[in-house]
Symmetry: C2
Subunit: 238 residues, 2 copies
DNA sequence: TAGGCTCATTTTGCATACAAAAAAGGTTTG
DNA sequence: CAAACCTTTTTTGTATGCAAAATGAGCCTA
């Protein structure tokens, strides 16, 4: 029996293909979020509905729904009668986000030390070694990927889905900045060392120490991000 | 010159009137959120687009955009090809939210002790006395109103707009539950006493004590909400 | 009578149409 | 030459149209 593909236009950029049960506007949300987080749509870029809809292979209706969704996440800003722009990436905002993330990660670390199963810890350890491997090879993008996964896994170990959701939302803002970061080898090594310590604290179920480590780790990350932002704005001023 | 009202249908429930520069879908977002938070649209109610659009005096398009926005806030859930429902109000979810709120309020309390101006504190004191007045008269709704304002003001004193925004989002969930609460006089008196202590700690800029007080206050609030939820589910099971 | 089938109705999801607002461009005037 | 005005074009905001999916009502069958 041949695969009965749902009838659909065969546009170049069409998103739907093979038995795709997802809804178009949900796909658009994810694609648009990626475009923003990965910096393909730079901060303060105006979102032209006609152009974007075409680019994403849909009509304006699902696109507008996606824009509203992302506006609630704070990744885009709505300008009445003037559409929407990619949310600006201001140093001030970034500081705010890091303060909140600090509280959330500290909470997660504490909960994770109590709730993580041995299997959870084994999984984090595995991710950790993947990360080390990519660090050793100097593969920044891959490194970030596993780094992210470790932080998310920490969150999940806390066993609080609401916490994870809020974390993800705020973290999207940070990720945007990170894509510009030019991590120095020195900072990078330090970050890896911090991860070693964090894993150790989790293994020993030392919630208090883990909280401290997470706060320091975040503080260092903030410095990194601020440097990247400053470099970027200096570049823009040239 | 007579007020040149923008031409518009004169439906019964029409939202726009006199020089209203707000956009329809933004109005719809706020109205729909109120309906959900105040329980007029009960948890797990199916959102029929045609009916709701009519009720709000608009077409389905802005309504759908509003639904997507509120979905991101977590107040409604999207069911692919089956529309949307008001998010269920599960005790488990409520516990999660309170844990996160605890971390956020503690953070805010700490920051507020450092950053609040004397004018801020005066304003909180004023709100506090309003609250006391309504407590004395047994006016629950009004009491809640000022209670809310005090908590929001605390947040604002922390001087972190991102923190305030996240707080508001999570707090919306709690508010939903609170509208069912049947506060006993005993608990109510206790809550007021806690507020007295919180104000005192803020005046003395005792961040550590304020954090503890806020955590306890929230813990008590959680008990209240859980009782309300249990009472409601017991009622539903009858 | 319970279970399942078919067909009609409703509802959702997406595309398009249209009106109002904003932006762009050109012309005039100081 | 710049600023103010008017016109044209573009873009947004909302309503409506239409197809596909889901729902529900009969009807049949075991």
């Amino acid at each position: 029996m041949p695969a009965a593909t749902t009838s659909s236009t065969t546009d170049t950029n069409n998103v739907t293909s093979l038995a795709d049960r997802r809804l178009l506007h949900e796909t658009v949300i994810d694609r648009l979020r990626d475009l923003i987080v990965q910096g393909e749509l730079a901060p303060e870029t105006k979102l032209n509905e006609r152009v974007l809809a075409e680019k994403l292979g849909t009509s304006r209706t699902p696109l507008r729904e996606a824009i509203k969704f992302l506006a609630s996440e704070g990744l885009v800003e709505l300008l009445p009668n003037r559409g929407a722009v990619v949310a600006p990436l201001k140093p001030e905002k970034m500081k705010e986000v890091f303060v909140v993330l600090g509280a959330l990660e500290a909470l997660a670390g504490d909960l994770a030390c109590r709730n993580a199963t041995e299997a959870d810890i084994a999984e984090i350890r595995a991710l950790h070694y993947h990360m080390l491997a990519h660090h050793a090879r100097g593969e920044l993008a891959q490194y970030f990927r596993y780094n992210q996964q470790i932080h998310i896994k920490f969150m999940e170990c806390a066993g609080n889905a609401t916490l994870t959701q809020v974390y993800r939302g705020l973290n999207a803002h940070v990720k945007r900045a990170r894509y510009m970061a030019n991590l120095s080898r020195e900072r990078w090594d330090k970050a890896v060392k911090e991860h070693e310590d964090m894993l150790d604290a989790l293994v020993k179920r030392d919630g208090a120490r883990l909280q401290t480590l997470l706060r320091d780790h975040l503080a260092n990350k903030l410095v990194m991000v601020m440097e990247a932002l400053n470099a970027k704005s200096a570049e823009a001023a040239r």
